[in-house]
Symmetry: D3
Subunit: 283 residues, 6 copies
């Protein structure tokens, strides 16, 4: 008699060996400046994923037909962000060196930094598709250079210009927008994603890393996040975006900033899970 | 000195005799596979309906000008779905034989089955308009044939092809979609209701039963349900749908799958109540 | 070493003397007929405003470049609405006589009445732009003439015809709509704001008072209010409205009916705060 | 086929005529100085009372063996406390003149005033047993004489010394305690009820009105109230108190200050309902 | 690099083979008459158990020094209680035949029935220690013999008199108390556990099954349950009870009726987890 | 006309100069291992303190008769605990050098470390009274020496034996208890405070620092904390403890680990506020 004792996202119970996509959680929220709790996202997403079907009528594909392994969570130390970032980078490098595509569940946005560091060692001309409400382009946050508010700037520090494409942005300092828009260090599509099509065309031969800060979504459908910012895109928009990514050479991705305890209805987690499913089906 | 002691939906305090529409509750959620609690919907809808006005500016009609009786809830036995279904069918038949149009408040979706069984005895060529996020077309759910995931298939078992029209569907097994779309056993309008107009034309001479699983709505506006499925229609869409039904020969209807305890803001119940009001005004 | 001990909306820490806009709270909800709690709005908005940036990418303006003072809350007496209204009027008159533009945070909608009374003493030809889900045009509510359901009618009593412009209205008695639409005592734009452009043209030389009952917004994005009414406008719509007001001679404004305890996600307060920011940037 | 459509506390479905106890709700919270919402108590208590049994193993008595009628709620006008108090007094007088014992469900504590006024017309030597966390002995609250913080002082105004017995009191102004304890205008048993036994002996020949402000209970078991005050008595203490009242000539009673929306677990309402049951069984 | 991917209660990660205690979940709540949701208990307990230490200072023992396996959850079918009970019995029999002591996490109380059926086949003179707020001794519940309100009566049907010992009972029908107390079919210790010491003496040579309906606890510390019943024992009492059981020949146990969604603070789950830990340490 | 714009605990609005006690907040929760959010405690306590009276009937003293200044919150940087600890130490030293007694509101328990460091520079023979559910005596937590789980051990590192007295402890590693109890490095009173009287006698000539981790309280009355641990002391116990401290030479104190977002009823904050009031009245 078989019991249910799976610790994995629905339909992602293949072995590490046979899989080409590996899910892992990075439950860290230590630099979050407002409402913490994204540490609880990976576990909550796994559990609530069983409220989904494995089949997507949008893409007419089924998770069960894919080779995906859910490896669990990295055991992180609260209160030492340097050790945290090292651990994540180490695991991401392990995946890269085994030819697995990482799909990370945050945690806060800073966890993206070490994964991109690991990815770029293999994929020299990596480009970043960044979906977010916030610019994340500060040089420092109250003196700290490593923060969820500086992460994209940190990535720019080693990638440089013309490598980062930002969508949905609707909040930031005046200086951040100026730096991105006027000085042109990143490509920035304010408020929406109307220029995604042309960007997709431009980068279609490059290896792409996709980082989705879920607060790009409007808080009506995604209230469970650290810094809800009204005026975001709809869930339907997010599905359109993922469809537009289909065909790109995506070598890794992450989904960050779900703070499930701030949404007692559970809908934010349902949204994150469904985005995970669709994203896996285009990876 | 008159006290308030009404146990009814606002404006629905006419007697059984004088009314042609009769509201009743079927507070059963026994086969719900994920989050239970739709048993609490009828009572919560009655109470919160007093936050509404009886007048609809959308339709320029007023509940007070209609003859509607709210009969209360069927006393159901948890843990015996057969007895539950029998009780509902018995009461629905009682209404039909008294020439009353039933408007049932669920409960989970399985409660629709016995009402349709009662309706079809009188209205041989009954057609079903089904609004839902889910196909509900499984043959069985873990071996059980009677479930909220199989209810439309169960109805098809005695109605057959060309009698069931499904709208808003965005979740199901691949096989369910195949059975409906490829084999053509039901008419299925995925994701939205763009084909509702032509369907309304086609069935305008038939007696129609309308079953609304409220999870057709996007969880941004309707999080209080058993299985929230992001990507649904808006409340404005639902109003449009109801306006499109005006003029059809609707002989009965239901509104199911509100689980009010999963929405601490109370908005899901406000939505259900307002849909009830609009629906009554086109019955 | 400087500590944080500001009791003000983010970026609104200028002195009373140097400012031309003065924020104050009117935490009264005594005539609220359904869910009370708008008394808690001013404090909650101040605290949560620190989750915002002071810079608006929509308007490309920054609160820090404006002269705004947050004066705190009027100390109101629960259980005596006459004393409450007197206190508010006294403070509003104080602002008017010092050539400050009032920006009041409610409280329920009745608090608008004394501010308009104070404003009209200076601005004889004041017109009212009223954004709301509800008509608020009852002559009395259960015999009481002063209520959040009668406030616009009360204002009409001394302003008269052609001075009040209502947008977003989707709930009221049949008689209220008749009085406004058929008898033409107010301009009423049901459901949306498609006629706002022409109204703005018409009143562009008049002093304008803007009163925003936040329940004009759809409860998907703004559930935290006394009487949530599904079918409202989106947050994006609200931003559009504020942009359309830019250039008008706005002499005062208020934002009312946030009841923060009914939204455990905190999103309703985030919405109210962001609308406050945008509104200040066009004042 | 019988449907459930009772609008009453469980087991309290006798007719007005045959009953000697009449329950009614007074859903008013207009002078509440902190968290409002006791207006929602009567309805919530009725609904949740069906989670109780009618039989009390503590008293070995059953509600079904008693003659109790639940009349519903007085239709009160928010925003006019004078009209509210008049309506309550009128209904309480109606009960008294029909030889019914009133059992009122608040609402806030001010609603006790008109009932005591009505009672004392018939029972000249009425004494008050007052259970509460707060003294409620202010002369005025911010200038207002009629408030939930002044209600017992208001009652003292016409009853005078030696008629009011207060238990469980643990919060108030220094002056209130002085007035009660040093000047001896009321009997005050701070923190607990250790002197209840001797008081019961002293008043056993008098007609007694029992007013229970549920915030006498510790907020661990009763968080759902306007002003939670840690350090209260346990539920077991409350049962002991009610047993000690058995045998007194209780001519009326009330249970006030449940604010159900502040307790998402529903336990506060369960507590209120069970206290109602036990209280009815000793009336 | 090791990731966290355990699907088990903290410290219970031994293999099935090496363990003598086996935890499993029975997530069924289909006959629950009031608030459903105990189906979510096993998973929530596992996750929140990581907020505990494995060491008990009460017993000076550590889970890590014991051999306990957490097998996961039985895959149950909602809507068919007969199939559910069969599955549970089958798994419990499997454990018994492998000389494992079952420790089941409910689900509602009906799930105890099949485990006791399985246990008694091996332990002919099994006695039951039953801790609960409710008698659970109904012959039927609305006609149904299998219900969480009848489960102890069902067990009595095959065990007979002098085999069932009930503690903490404070709610039931008058007839149930009469049947137990006056007719003596079960030993019933109302309200508390003052007679537990003598019962322990009496049964110390018998195989014992311990069933803990967590609603025996006061809702102040355990609000997250289907039918909260004020007036229960404290957590400290529960610890005392478990210490008193130490030394008995306990052959199996269960912990039922946690409905975690009804306690947003998470304390009810923390309580359940800590009782699980202590119970395991005396098994 | 005076408006309410105080950013301080009720009754603590004296100037820095005239006060001998200074309240400040340290909103840091960066090493919290389970549920974060104690960063929100200082602000929430200030706001909700206005639900209290300034007069304590327990001590017959009034905050208004004391000289207390509420300075606001230290502006801390999330993600850099070293900078955080430095800022706190700097401010505490500032208070000590101005002969002010600090009363800090956490934040998590690690914030106690820098205050004690500052205090001991002036009060060489400082002793610590530590009230907590947890030992906090780990040498490191996952390799980190600075954590809310190691804070008391860190303090011991420079204070040494016979200087730390722990009460209410009911959770920890076996090794921590052994180190404290068997090796005698701290005085540890498990589960309660029955030995507090003798400790008070022993230290009555020493300068005393009191650190209260509010999770010493039972989660029934204090669920809003990072790691709720059932089996704690009651609020009445806490009042007793504070009375026992009256007369000691307390030179500083703190109240930590309130995480208000985990208690939707607000009771945890009311508890923290009342403990603050009583504590100030014995300082």
């Amino acid at each position: 008699m078989e019991l249910f004792n799976k610790y994995c996202f629905i339909g992602c119970d293949k072995t590490f060996q046979e899989s080409n996509v590996v899910i892992f959680g990075a439950p860290f929220d230590g630099t979050c400046s407002y409402r913490p709790g994204s540490r609880f996202a990976p576990n909550k997403i796994r559990i609530d994923s069983y409220g989904l079907e494995t089949y997507s009528p949008y893409l007419d594909r089924d998770l069960e037909d894919h080779k995906i392994h859910d490896a669990g969570d990295i055991d992180l130390i609260f209160g030492n962000k340097y050790a945290v970032l090292d651990s994540i980078k180490e695991y991401a490098s392990h995946l890269v060196s085994n030819n697995k595509k990482p799909l990370m569940i945050g945690g806060e946005h800073l966890v993206t930094l070490p994964v991109v560091e690991a990815m770029v060692e293999k994929h020299k001309d990596l480009v970043i598709l960044h979906f977010d409400a916030h610019t994340d382009l500060r040089g420092d946050y109250m003196g700290e250079e490593l923060s969820h508010a500086t992460v994209i700037k940190q990535i720019w520090n080693f990638l440089g210009d013309n490598r980062i494409f930002q969508f949905g942005i609707r909040s930031g300092l005046k200086d951040e927008f100026y730096w991105a828009e006027k000085e042109g260090h990143t490509f920035i599509n304010k408020f929406g994603y109307d220029k995604l099509g042309e960007v997709v065309q431009k980068i279609k031969d490059k290896p792409v890393y996709v980082t989705i800060d879920l607060d790009i979504l409007d808080p009506s459908i995604f209230p469970g996040t650290g810094t809800p910012e009204p005026g975001g895109i709809s869930f339907q928009d997010m599905l359109n975006i993922i469809k537009m990514l289909d065909g790109l050479n995506i070598v890794g991705a992450d989904v960050v900033e779900l703070a499930p305890d701030y949404d007692p209805t559970g809908v934010s987690t349902a949204v994150a899970s469904k985005i995970m499913r669709e994203l896996m089906l285009v990876l």
